[in-house]
Symmetry: C2
Subunit: 347 residues, 2 copies
C-alpha cells in the first residue's frame, strides 16, 4: 500500500463552556495499516451534532469521554480501501464512529455498519444516520403521537427536529416547531410543512408558543434544554410524553447554572400531569433498524419527509463548524466533506 | 331524622410554606340532608397524606384547589346513615373524599366506592386505600422491578414507601429504604424486611446510600423530592425507572427554591442513562383495582405485606397531625379517627 497521510483533529484541552479553537489541534500522521481482523476506511463525510460536545467533558456518559490527545469522536461514513477481515470488502460503504480524521481502522463491531445497496452517502448521513434514527425512534417508541394531538419540537430546522415534525404530520398530529430566527421559522412551515413555528428569540415567545398550541402539548421532543423548557412546561396536557434526546443549550455548561432551582417545579408537574420523561439513544434500537429504513424510504419517495444539508468542505474546518453548530448557526444537517464522494448526486 | 351536628374544618387562609394552625378553622353546622340521588355518610376515619397540602395552594393540579371557606379535602371512609339513591344503602361502608368533617353527602360518582364484603375499615385506610394503591400501581406498572434489581424508596416507613419496598422483595428485588432517624430505619429493616435502610439525616448519607446499592439503582420510587434526589441521581443504572408519586419536601414551598438549578443535570442524566420518569395517580388505574385487591389480600394473608397505623382520635386534631406529617413526624399511615368504628379489630 502506498504511504497515505492521515490528517486528524485531536482534543488538546478540555473545553470549559463553549469549545474554543485552541481546544483542538490538527496533526498529520501516516495512515494506519489494518491488522488481521481489521479494515481501513477512507472517510467521506463526518456528521456534526451536539453529542460530540458531551464526549469532550471528562465525565463518563453513555460512551467513555474522549481523552486528551485522542481523536475527536464523531459519526461518519466512508469507503473501505483495504481489508483484512471478512466483514468488509474493499469498496464497501460503512457508517462508523470515524472521528475527525481522514482514515480510520474499523472492526466488525456494533459501531460499524456496512450499508448494503444504498449508495447515496449524503442521504445516509442526513436521514438514515443517527439524527434520522433519533427522530424516528423517539417518535415511534416514546412520543407516539395520536391523530389530532399536538407535538412540539425545539431546534425544528435541525437534523433531528425537522424529521420529528414531519413524522408528527405523517401520524396526523399538529406539528409546532421552535427555531431561532425568522428564516428558520419560514423554512419549517414553508418547506417542511409544520403547522406553526415560533421564534424562541421573540420577546413574547411564551405567549406565541401558547397561541400555537391551543389544545395544549401532548408530545414535547426535548432537544434543547431549559430556556425553551420553561415555556413548554405550563402547556403540557395530562399524560404527555417527552422523549429526551439532546440538550444543546447545556452541553456548554461547565457547572450547574445559577438558580432558582427548577427541579421541584418539574417533579411537581410530572406528578400532577402524569408526564413521562424518557431518555433514549438511537443505538438502543439496533434490532428495529430495518423498520426505520423501510418507513423512511417510503416517506422519502412519497415526498413526505424533506431534509436539508449544510455541507462544509475540509476536515480542518470541523472544529469551527462544531462551534457554529453549538451556537445554533447551522441550518440543516451539518456535514463535513472530508474526501470526494463518488456517490454524490450531480448538482 | 334527628338534628345532627356536623363539625367541619375549613380553609381560612392559603398556607405559605408549612401549614399553620391559623390557616384552618373548626366550625359546627347542622349535618346536611341528602337530596334525591344522594346519601349521607358518617365519617369513621380520615387519612392524612401529603397530597392534602397540594390542594391548599391556589394552583390547579389534578384536582381543583380547595377554595377559601371550603372544607379541607382528604380521603376517608365511613358508613351510610341515610340514603335517597340506589347506589348506597344504609349501613354500607364507602370510601370517598370525605374531607375534614363528620358527615358528608355522597353521590354515585368516581370518588365514592362502596366496599363489598370487606368490613375492616382500618385495613381499607391503610393498605387497600389510596396509599396502598399508589405503591402497587407505581411498582407494577412503572417500576416493574426484575429479579436481582435494586429498588430504592424514600419515606420508607410511611404508608406508601413501606408497601413499595415489600412489593420489591416479593418481586425478588433488593429493597433499600431511606427514612428519617434510627427508629424508623430499624423498623424498615427489622419489621418490614427491607435489605437495607439509610438515614437521610446522617452526615454521610450519600456515601451510605451508595454502599447500600452496590449494583446501582434500577427503580427509585420518588416520594420525597430534591434533598434525597441528589444522592440517588449518580447511582442510576441505564434504563432505570422512576415512578413519581409524591414530593413531600416541596409541598410546603411557596416559590422556586434558590439555585443552583438542578434541571440541566437531571435532563442530562435522563438522556445519558436513558431513564424513565413517570408521574402517576392511583385513580388513573381504576379499571385495574380488582387485581390490586386480589394481590394485596393474598400478600397480607401470607404475611408478606405488613403495615403500621398511626391513629389520632378526634377531627379537631387533623390540622395539627397534618402539620406533623408534613414534617415527617408520623410513623406509619396517619389516620384520624372521627367516630367510633364498630369494625375495628379488638385490641
Amino acid at each position: 500500500m502506498p504511504e497515505l497521510t492521515n490528517r486528524q483533529i485531536l482534543l488538546r484541552r478540555r473545553p470549559t463552556g463553549l469549545v474554543q479553537p485552541d481546544d483542538t489541534e490538527l496533526v498529520t500522521n501516516p495512515a494506519p495499516e489494518p491488522a488481521e481482523g481489521e479494515a481501513l476506511l477512507r472517510t467521506t463525510y463526518v456528521g456534526l451534532d451536539a453529542a460530540v460536545r458531551t464526549w469532550l467533558d471528562g465525565q463518563p456518559g453513555y460512551l467513555p469521554p474522549v481523552e486528551l490527545g485522542d481523536i475527536i469522536r464523531a459519526a461518519g461514513i466512508g469507503e473501505v480501501v483495504a481489508s483484512r477481515c471478512d466483514a468488509f470488502a474493499v469498496g464497501d460503504v460503512v457508517t462508523t464512529l470515524t472521528g475527525f480524521q481522514e482514515y480510520v481502522i474499523i472492526r466488525d463491531d456494533v459501531f460499524s455498519t456496512p450499508i448494503p445497496g444504498e449508495t447515496n452517502q449524503l442521504a445516509i448521513m442526513s436521514v438514515y444516520g443517527p439524527t434520522g434514527a433519533t427522530a424516528y425512534f423517539g417518535m415511534t417508541d416514546i412520543g407516539r403521537p395520536k391523530q389530532g394531538e399536538t407535538v412540539v419540537v425545539s431546534a425544528a430546522s435541525g437534523a433531528v427536529g425537522s424529521v420529528v415534525g414531519q413524522i408528527a404530520r405523517i401520524k396526523g398530529a399538529r406539528a409546532v416547531g421552535i427555531a431561532g430566527g425568522p428564516d428558520k421559522c419560514r423554512y419549517v412551515t414553508g418547506e417542511l410543512g409544520f403547522d406553526a413555528c415560533v421564534d424562541h428569540r421573540a420577546a413574547d415567545f411564551p405567549e406565541q408558543l401558547k397561541a400555537a398550541c391551543p389544545k395544549g402539548v401532548d408530545v414535547y421532543f426535548e432537544n434543547v434544554g431549559v430556556p425553551v423548557f420553561d415555556a413548554v412546561l405550563p402547556l403540557f396536557n395530562p399524560f404527555a410524553r417527552i422523549p429526551v434526546c439532546g440538550l444543546i443549550a447545556h452541553y456548554n455548561a461547565a457547572e450547574l447554572p445559577p438558580g432558582p432551582d427548577h427541579l421541584p417545579l418539574l417533579l411537581r408537574t410530572i406528578l400532577s400531569r402524569r408526564l413521562t420523561f424518557r431518555g433514549f439513544l438511537f443505538f438502543d434500537y439496533a434490532s428495529q433498524f430495518p423498520d426505520f429504513v423501510t418507513d423512511m424510504k417510503a416517506w422519502l419517495s412519497e415526498g413526505r419527509i424533506k431534509y436539508r444539508e449544510d455541507i462544509t468542505d475540509g476536515l480542518e474546518n470541523a472544529p469551527r463548524e462544531l462551534i457554529r453548530l453549538l451556537k445554533g448557526e447551522n441550518f440543516g444537517k451539518k456535514i463535513i466533506r472530508v474526501s470526494l464522494d463518488p456517490t454524490a448526486p450531480k448538482q
